[in-house]
């Protein structure tokens, strides 16, 4: 490497750490599954109450191809994801600009903050009855619950991120001739981005959890609905397939989003910072 001395080769440190973490992670999940299998096979608990992982896997395969409560497993997952995407996208599209504006334009704060503070303490589930009256048991209702759960995290973290930008940076931009918009776009938002992204991550998981909760109560499709139907049909395996699908999809969303974050914020040097 002919790189200049004070600069480490950019990608050397983070790369080496990944396989080890992957092995440990896989081992921890495998241990959990094995422990579950052992307990289930020991016969202490009846199979109707605690099926083995193998039973659940078989049920998973069945649900993937056969219709259960109106849809295959993929159909239910797709329904949930659609509602989640709509609700989360709206929360991001409205919440981030609002949070940024509250920090960047101080006169807005006394106007908007009180209403926001009042509304955000109404839990997402408290909105379910009124949403059902307004929109019926529709995608709109479910997306609205996702939106309500996801919106505050977007606003609060965007506000925090912009508030914490060192005031010397906008001054530096101003003396170089940048106007308000250029300063916001090229200096303030990139510096606030880690906090904004954290808000989006929290919003994603809040939205996902609220959605499944809402689906347990209303709706005719979705993973939450699948679980509730499993309960009605006295099928623990169905419930477990639904739970695992919910957990796996949530984790997958978060993992994917972290990859996006790294690609968008190359200057943060995630691996390097952790190593030092």
């Amino acid at each position: 490497m002919s790189a200049s001395p004070p600069l480490a080769p950019p990608s050397a440190r983070p790369r080496a750490a990944v396989p080890a973490a992957l092995i440990v992670g896989a081992a921890s999940i495998a241990t959990l599954v094995v422990a579950w299998q052992v307990v289930a096979m020991a016969g202490i608990v009846p199979a109707r109450v605690l099926p083995t992982p193998l039973d659940v896997a078989l049920r998973f395969a069945t649900l993937a191809v056969e219709t259960f409560s109106g849809s295959t497993l993929e159909g239910h997952a797709l329904a949930s994801l659609t509602r989640w995407v709509i609700g989360a996208a709206c929360a991001i599209a409205l919440g981030i600009p609002l949070g940024v504006a509250l920090a960047w334009l101080p006169p807005l704060r006394p106007v908007i903050a009180p209403a926001f503070e009042l509304l955000r303490f109404i839990p997402p589930f408290a909105w379910v009855p009124i949403a059902v009256l307004w929109f019926g048991a529709s995608t709109t209702t479910q997306a609205l619950i996702v939106f309500i759960a996801a919106f505050p995290a977007c606003v609060i973290n965007a506000h925090l991120g912009v508030s914490l930008v060192d005031p010397i940076l906008p001054r530096a931009a101003a003396m170089l001739g940048a106007g308000g918009v250029a300063t916001l776009r090229r200096v303030v938002l990139p510096v606030a981005a880690p906090s904004i992204f954290t808000g989006v991550r929290i919003a994603f998981s809040n939205g996902w959890m609220a959605l499944v909760g809402a689906e347990l109560v209303v709706g005719k499709q979705g993973l939450g609905f699948l679980i509730s139907q499993g309960q009605i049909n006295d099928s623990v395996t169905t419930i477990m397939v639904g739970m695992i699908a919910i957990g796996a999809l949530g984790a997958l969303i978060d993992f994917g989003f972290q990859r996006v974050e790294r690609a968008w914020l190359p200057w943060l040097a995630f691996g390097a910072k952790r190593a030092s």
């Binding site: 200096v187 990139p190 040097a269």
Partner: protein, 298 residues
């Protein structure tokens, strides 16, 4: 004999409440370069004062200050800490509004901050999400300078500041000295008329500071920038300045304005050599005496 001659050359004047016209005339008289009637100064602070409102009442940070910097001149401002040097700088840059008074460039009101007067801050203030190149190009990008021209000017600055190897590095990957080089390159890339330096080497270790002081001295010989330079280092002030302005303790006012001629025998030496010369020490001692009385007075 030599001593007498030297002392006669330390031209000082009390800069307290002189009216503007008398002020410019005094500057003209001090000038070693032109004896013609005082030209319009490149940068002029006219009766700049600043009072901060706090919960404990008003705090007068800066008493009315008059300061004129001629084209191509490097004026150093020194003073005890908390004397309002940095406030003076922010006002000169247009980043802060004075409570009273006016900033003029070429005899006209200077207006808001902009690339005409660029600033090098003590804390570097590099944009963390831009590479070295991106930081240097920033002023050109927001001004809409065409890509080819922008790249040429960035390359020129990279070369000038010895940053070519680091062009794609992120600011956090660089040492403090390198970061400040980037900040200087960023301030110069827009070709400002006036360069404002706010204790630029205050956050650097002694060795890095010495190297950068040498570079500023070298840059000055290459390019004839008009510079207002705030420092707390008397040595730095004497070494780099054409004039050294000494400020009083709070509320800051200009106590003394000392011209340091270009033909001093230590000009062109490195700072460690220059600072051992008898003539250099004499300036240093005089300025130190002024600052000491200010600190004691407080």
């Amino acid at each position: 004999m030599a001593r007498v001659r030297r002392e006669a050359r330390i031209v000082t004047r009390d800069a307290a409440p002189t009216p503007h016209i008398a002020h410019s005339a005094a500057v003209g008289a001090v000038s070693p370069r032109d004896a013609s009637p005082a030209p319009v100064p490149k940068l002029e602070l006219r009766g700049i004062a600043k009072t901060f409102r706090t919960d404990h009442g008003d705090v007068e940070a800066l008493a009315p200050c008059d300061l004129a910097v001629r084209e191509g001149e490097l004026v150093m401002v020194v003073g005890p800490s908390g004397c309002g040097k940095s406030t003076l700088m922010s006002i000169a840059a247009g980043l802060e509004a004075p409570t009273s008074g006016e900033v003029r460039v070429d005899g006209r009101p200077a207006g808001p901050a902009g690339p005409q007067r660029t600033v090098v801050f003590q804390r570097f203030a590099l944009f963390p999400s831009e590479t070295v190149e991106g930081n240097i190009a920033f002023g050109l990008t927001v001004a809409g300078v065409a890509r080819a021209e922008r790249e040429a000017r960035v390359a020129e600055q990279l070369e000038l500041m010895g940053l070519a190897r680091f062009r794609r590095a992120w600011p956090h990957e660089l040492s403090g000295g390198m970061q400040q080089r980037v900040a200087i390159a960023r301030a110069l890339a827009v070709r400002p008329e006036i360069l404002l330096m706010d204790e630029p080497f205050g956050a650097l270790d002694a060795q890095t500071r010495t190297v950068l002081q040498g570079e500023i001295s070298r840059l000055r010989r290459v390019m004839n920038y008009t510079v207002l330079f705030i420092t707390h280092s008397v040595e730095e002030a004497v070494y780099l300045g054409d004039r050294v302005v000494v400020m009083s303790s709070r509320p800051g006012r200009i106590r003394r304005d000392i011209a340091i001629p270009h033909d001093e025998p230590w000009r062109g030496l490195e700072i460690e050599d220059a600072s051992m010369r008898e003539e250099f020490i004499r300036y240093k001692r005089e300025i130190w005496e002024l600052i000491r009385t200010e600190i004691v007075r407080e």
